[in-house]
């Protein structure tokens, strides 16, 4: 078995990012859209941790990436809360959370 290196983790991060992007772009349900956002954030987390683990700069066992990823998780949570509040308002306004039907900014 080849050695698992940085590229493999980055690839996973890219795949996660793409899937998250795919979810954002294609899901009709607003909550599912938010899930896609979460996926993208998690992909970023993976990239952070991977770079932190495989980085050779500084002393060994620098934990910068992992710390950053903790920040991202917290921010993700806050952002999800706010997003869900927005979705709730959208539901109040349009009686639907199908993002295809929220196109009032269309001219």
């Amino acid at each position: 078995m080849p050695a698992v290196g940085l590229p493999h983790f980055l690839t996973i991060g890219a795949i996660l990012f793409s899937l998250g992007l795919f979810a954002i772009i294609t899901r009709r349900n607003a909550v599912m859209l938010l899930m896609g956002i979460e996926l993208i954030l998690n992909a970023a987390n993976v990239n952070l941790v991977a770079f932190s683990r495989y980085s050779t700069a500084g002393t060994s066992l620098m934990m910068t990436g992992q710390i950053a990823s903790l920040f991202v998780i917290v921010l993700a949570a806050c952002e999800a809360a706010v997003a869900l509040a927005i979705v709730l308002n959208i539901y109040k306004r349009f009686s639907t959370i199908n993002v295809d039907e929220v196109d009032m900014l269309r001219d």
Partner: protein, 823 residues
Amino acid sequence: MDSVLQLSIVILLLPFVGFVVQLVLGKAKTPADYVIDPHESAHHDHDAHGNVADAHTADHTQHAVDVPHEPAAHAPSHGDHHYTYHVTKRRGPWTDADQTRAYRLHWIATAIMGICLALSIYVAYVTISAPAISGAPNWTPKAEASAVWYDFGDAATSAIGRAYVITLGVLADNLAAIMLVVVTLISFLVHLFSSEYMREPSMHGGRFNRFFAYLGLFTFSMLGIVIANNLLMIYIFWELVGVSSYLLIGFWYERPAPQYANKKAFIVNRVGDIGMFAGILILFTQLGTLELTKVFTMLSAGTLPYGSELWLTAAGILLFCGAIGKSAQFPLNVWLPDAMEGPTPVSALIHAATMVAAGVYLTARIFPLLTGDAMLFVAAVGGATAIIAASIALVQWDLKKVLAFSTVSQLGYMVLALGVGAYSAAIFHLVTHAMFKACLFLASGSVIHQMHHSLHHIHDHSRDPQDMRNMGGLKGKMPVTYLTTLIATLAISGVPLFSGYMSKDEILAGAWAFRNVSPGFIANAVWIVGYVVAGMTAFYMFRMVFLTFWGQPKAADIYAHIKENPRVMVGPLVVLATLSLWIPFGGNPLNPGGGWFLSSWVRTPALVAPAGAQPHVSHAAPAATHESAAPPEAGTPAEAAHGATGAFQASLEHATHELHETGIPHVASMPALMSLLVAGTGILIAFLLYGRKEAKGQQVSWAAPTGVRAFLFNRWYQDNLYEKVFPVGFSLVLMKALAWFDANVVDGIVNGVGALSVAIARFVGAFDTYVVDGLVNFLGGTAQFVGLLFRQMQTGRIQTYAAYAVVGVIVLFFAVTMMASAL
């Protein structure tokens, strides 16, 4: 002699003063003020005063025409339409006082003419007794004065090497002096005659005075022609004479025949004037001046127009064209018979004695510059005219028409004489013809006057007072008229002891001499024509006398009221008849050549054309010996030495002399014997046909003529031909062509331009609509299309926007990578 020239100018201007006086003082309002109403005469009721009740016109205010004569009067007419004149007054009545005043006023005109006559006689006496200028060629006048009218001042630059100058001037020589007397004498006699002849009730509204005004204008114009010394002045007065003739022929202007006749006279004259003006122009452009003396001097020095004899011939013929028109030569003779529509005194003055003589006078004035070909042309025209007119006169029934055609024929004689070089004979005949023809016309006027009154008296308005078939036997009732007519007729027929014999004999002798000197077809033809016409003249003139005065009256009711005319009408007849005897012209009635008129008063001027252009001489005369043998004729042969121009004229003189020695010397030469024979034959035939009592009633027919008689009676159908060709064939065709052109071509162009404008407008409009607007719309459409296109980017869905953001990031990423790698 200067006083002579000044007097000549006075004589010229006095009749013009008379003209103005008669018009201004003659209460000659516009014709509309005193309208004379022509209408077909119904039968009028004539009351004691001759007033006529009339229910005709509305604006008849009052019929206050209380004159002793009948108010209805009409001018001599043709028997087809008789008009009765009713005066409709708009500016107040025409009273007896007005009538008297008008009559008294006209005596001023007659008095002026009498003064002119006296002055002319004095001028003639002084001029003829004055000697000719010695050493000068014999066409030089005895006195001459001219003033420059306009000098074009281009002597240095003109093509002919001298300046073009227009002058006005007068001359005095024997010919002019004689013509002065002739014109003033006949004018004076006509004035006297007209004072009674024209004194009719129809002469209201100043028309009586206007007649004398026009006579004065005419006399003024004719005298201008006579004393002018340059062609331009002759031309100016020439046209004035035409105008006077127009006014006088159309004097009774309400009738259609005078309206037609005066236009015809003027227009036919004008046709001749075109040629005359062309001739004047040839001389003026080539010689720079129109004074006759200067022209002859230049020509005799060898300066020919355009340097060619042909042009000189052309100038001569063209100038003669004016004479063809004015003197009613063939082919422009059609106006003179129609001119008889004018009052008879007018016919006597203008169309017998003076105006028609102006053409002969002009030809005489330009005689020196005629070349041989021009002279042959002149002779041919004269001969043709003479015989054509004489043939027409043979069958006419109207008294004045016989005289009119006789005039044309005699003018042909004069022109013929000039054409064969017999200048003195032509002038002689002009003078004698003026006397006896005026006498004949005035006598016919006298007869017509009486016929008129007689027809009025019996209230007959259908018969023609001028038709000889209504006359007859008048010599008992009008003895003085008869005698004077007889004398004048004897004169015109060429019977010895009368003036006409002398002049006609000279012409015939001249033609005979020309035939001897320069034989040819025209010379022979003209010689024969001369004698034939003499016979015809005698015949028709005596036919006229026999029909009018002899035998039984053909219309007894008319005859009953005829009487002799008053002295003022008959007096002129006596005077003119006396002048038709041989006495004024030479002592020996049988030898005109020896008389003072031909030997010293009028002499043939020398021809100035180059010797090669003069008439061809078949055998030259021994001129040298002849010079010494004939001193009284020194004029011409002496000038043979002056210039190389003598061969023809010397030969002609010699031949004429030889002829006078033939036959019975000093009594009657061969030409004279022949003319006696011919005239006697004519008179005899006339007597046999019309003069004998037995012949009465057989030759006078009211039926329409047939065959040859119809051809002659209808004037050889010349009028019909002209009418067909010129108004109908030419003017009408031209008119139709031009009308077609105007309607189709001109209007076609205009319409075409309009249609083109409309088409262009349509095209431009379409362009504007489709192209320009299309472009604009296209831009707008493009903007809209692009907008539509880009609109779809804005779906309002955040997922779409998120996708755009991602794509944008990727693009940017690649772009930066590219740039980084490029760097």
